[in-house]
């Protein structure tokens, strides 16, 4: 029985060495991938030459030549392609951001509803989740769009609510304040209020940590924001001018409006994703052991304090990672807007492919946009997740 006196210091370059084999496997894998990429690239270039397809991103600066019904920045049909893509990206972000906010609210309510003492509320939330989760999102989008287009009256006979909201299959018109000095000052005031509220919350926390005496936070904070905004509005002369929509000859005049495409995409995405968010919230709340709430009430914390200081922080830790996934899913599902003609980035790319034939470039743009969004959301959520994770010594 002879044990090696010392481990070999020299690298063993024989086939038996794990390192050598590992290196070899990796080289083979890289070689195969490289070969595949070369094969595909070679074929693509050859095909493009044979079919006379031009390549490159130079088309982005040539005029697009198509109109976009829904835009957040001024655009005309002879503007360049990159403008069209920019509008598509903005439209995607708009529907995704609004959808995320709405879906979080609705999903959280539904998730909490699953714990209601009331059997009807519980059953209703369960039925909602199962109904909306088990039907494809594309089908739901198509159905909402059909309901909005077929079910609502034509723009001539729109339904009016209080004479300020008008709903027809041309969209929803709503009043907006006429932007002036007063509104600007009010917004600035609200911003100042948020900063002041944050400072107050910090001071209250420091005070609590030093003395153990709690100070009210929520009411003063809300008061500060509203007060500062009101102060700004009054300083600007308290303007009350609103632009109220009114039926015109062919379309609505005044106010602002949402297109039926936007409403359908938003409605479909929100209702569908909310069913998933509800499940995430339910699982998060269920993951906090009952003993935690009991211990908190034994310490004399009120029901609200229990929720805010004990149960919620622990539930959030479980909720955040899957919630991030749902937000990303919602953003990615917004690409289905192409099916009902909402001009998001996929829809614009589709038109651009049909017009210019530059499939490789346009699909790369789509993928780049979604990858960037996904990565940004992941980074943001990982940061938040780290903040709410258990602080281990």
């Amino acid at each position: 029985m002879t044990a090696p006196a010392s481990p070999p210091t020299k690298r063993d370059w024989s086939w038996r060495s794990r390192h050598v084999r590992g290196l070899l496997y990796q080289l083979i894998a890289l070689g195969l991938i490289g070969l595949a990429v070369w094969f595909l690239a070679h074929n693509t270039l050859q095909n493009m030459r044979v079919r006379g397809i031009q390549s490159g991103f130079d088309f982005l600066s040539s005029p697009a030549g198509f109109d976009i019904g829904e835009r957040m920045v001024p655009y005309e049909s002879n503007d360049p392609y990159w403008m069209a893509f920019l509008i598509g990206i903005l439209n995607t972000l708009r529907v995704a951001l609004v959808g995320i906010v709405l879906t979080t609210i609705l999903g959280t309510l539904l998730g909490i509803g699953r714990f209601s003492h009331n059997a009807l509320v519980r059953g209703l939330c369960y039925a909602y989740v199962e109904l909306f989760r088990n039907v494809p999102i594309l089908l739901q989008l198509l159905m909402w769009y059909l309901v909005l287009i077929d079910g609502l009256p034509s723009p001539g006979q729109q339904v009016s609510v209080f004479g300020v909201f008008y709903l027809s299959n041309g969209g929803l018109s709503y009043p907006v304040p006429v932007w002036g000095l007063g509104q600007g000052l009010a917004a600035a005031g609200a911003l100042v209020g948020v900063v002041l509220a944050w400072l107050w919350a910090r001071r209250a926390r420091l005070h609590f940590e030093q003395t153990g005496q709690p100070r009210p936070v929520l009411l003063p904070a809300v008061g500060l924001v509203i007060g500062c905004a009101l102060g700004g509005w009054l300083a600007g002369g308290a303007p009350t001018a609103w632009s109220i929509p009114a039926p015109g000859g062919f379309s609505m005049e005044g106010g602002s409006s949402l297109t039926p495409e936007f409403i359908a995409v938003l409605l479909g995405l929100t209702l569908y994703t909310a069913s998933y968010v509800a499940e995430v919230v339910r699982a998060g709340i269920a993951s906090v052991p009952r003993g935690q709430a009991e211990a908190a009430s034994a310490l004399g914390l009120s029901k609200g304090q229990q929720m805010r200081l004990v149960s919620l922080p622990q539930a959030l830790r479980v909720i955040i990672p899957p919630m991030t996934n749902q937000f990303l899913n919602l953003t990615k599902n917004s690409s289905l807007a192409v099916a009902i003609g909402y001009p998001d980035v996929v829809s614009i790319s589709n038109t651009a492919i049909n017009q210019t034939g530059r499939a490789v470039e346009c699909i790369s743009i789509i993928m780049l946009v979604y990858l960037t969004t996904s990565l940004c959301t992941s980074v943001l959520m990982n940061w938040y997740n780290k903040r709410s994770a258990i602080k281990e010594r």
């Binding site: 074929n43 050859q46 003492h117 199962e130 699909i363 990858l371 996904s374």
Partner: protein, 368 residues
């Protein structure tokens, strides 16, 4: 004993009943003021809505495939006639009308094989053979071209058979890919690990529709000039690559749940890497991820509806095909939508129930 001092104490009140219908009602519907209010509001809504819904969907609905009756009932009664008239087009798409018994048998066989795969008794090596035979039967029936059956090209396939085919085949093909990628992502070799991470994150970061666009627009460019690949095959490759990335993450979750000691014990026994994975790690890990894979299958089943955007006429697309060209029936599209929504719902709901059931079965040892 003094008789005057004897005074019977009053009988104790009967214990409060906590079982039965009445206490349940009180506890779960009228326990406090907000709960009572919610109950009353919801009951009120039900009393208001349900009769309307039943009247629209059943009592005043038209079931006969008569366009005139549907037109007359418009606004107050559903027109299920559109389903009775068009159901064969919706379910089988553009498949030749007289030959539709073939996709019917093929789909039933495929669903039967799926159900069999969900039952534990069938989790045996010969299940693979069963699947091979089943797929041969499926494609034989769908393509035809022998035994007197007319040849039907893939561009005429459609409806439910296509949905079931795309979902099943992409999961079956993605599974081996997912296992390899999941192992690769945990590998100590940096190049292989990087490749796997890039593949998974790239695919998971983009929507399925962009992968399908790639399959539809870019794939023809990738192939040597002169070769043309069937659009069904291209889409299938796209969906497989897509679901493979998601499934790899599920499998990786299962691998991570296996204690490190298992791998170390296998190493101590002198098993090679692949022996250890095949005999020790994977059997334990894969049993853990069955519910996850099932959920992935549900997601892919729903996502197959997207292939209609690249003009393959599965269930959703076939419905559009059946109604868009027919101006008589087009106004009753919503009823047809509800019909296919019900088909999707039945499939997905039963699969999610199965997933829950298997999850409880798997964690039975923990819940003792």
């Amino acid at each position: 004993m003094n008789a005057a001092s004897f005074r019977p104490i009053a009988p104790r009140a009967a214990p409060v009943r906590t079982e039965g219908a009445l206490p349940w009602l009180k506890r779960s519907l009228f326990s406090n003021a907000p709960s009572t209010l919610a109950t009353l509001v919801l009951l009120g809504l039900a009393v208001w809505w349900l009769p309307q819904l039943i009247s629209w969907g059943l009592l005043k609905a038209v079931f006969a495939p008569s366009f005139e009756q549907c037109q007359a009932a418009r606004g107050f009664g559903a027109c299920w006639g559109v389903v009775t008239e068009k159901y064969r087009l919706i379910i089988f798409g553009r498949y030749p009308f007289e030959e539709q018994w073939r996709p019917l048998i093929a789909t039933v066989a495929m669903v039967a094989a799926l159900v069999a795969s969900c039952i534990r008794v069938f989790w045996r090596p010969w299940l693979v053979l069963l699947w091979a035979a089943m797929l041969a039967l499926f494609f034989g029936l769908m393509f035809g071209g022998f035994a007197g059956m007319e040849h039907v090209a893939t561009d005429r396939w459609g409806g439910l058979p296509l949905t079931v085919l795309l979902a099943t085949l992409s999961i079956v093909l993605a599974f081996p890919l997912a296992v390899v990628v999941a192992l690769g992502r945990r590998s100590k070799m940096p190049a292989i690990k990087t490749l796997c991470v890039v593949y998974v994150e790239l695919i998971r970061g983009v929507p399925l529709i962009s992968v399908l666009f790639m399959a539809s627009f870019m794939f023809p460019l990738f192939m040597p000039p002169g070769t043309s690949i069937d659009v069904l095959l291209r889409v299938l490759v796209g969906i497989t690559l897509f679901s493979g990335a998601y499934m790899a993450e599920i499998v990786r979750g299962g691998l991570q749940a296996i204690p490190k000691g298992q791998q170390e014990a296998a190493d101590t026994l002198g098993l090679s890497y692949w022996q250890a994975q095949r005999k020790i790690i994977l059997p334990q890990a894969l049993a853990l991820v069955v519910p996850g894979i099932m959920n992935n299958f549900i997601a892919i089943f729903k996502d197959t509806s997207l292939v209609t955007i690249v003009s393959l006429y599965e269930l959703t697309g076939a419905m559009g095909l059946a109604l868009n060209s027919d101006s008589d029936w087009r106004p009753f599209k919503i009823e047809a939508y509800l019909f296919i929504a019900a088909i999707y719902f039945i499939f997905c709901f039963s699969m999610s129930r199965y997933s829950l059931w298997i999850e409880r079965r798997l964690s039975a040892s923990k819940n003792r």
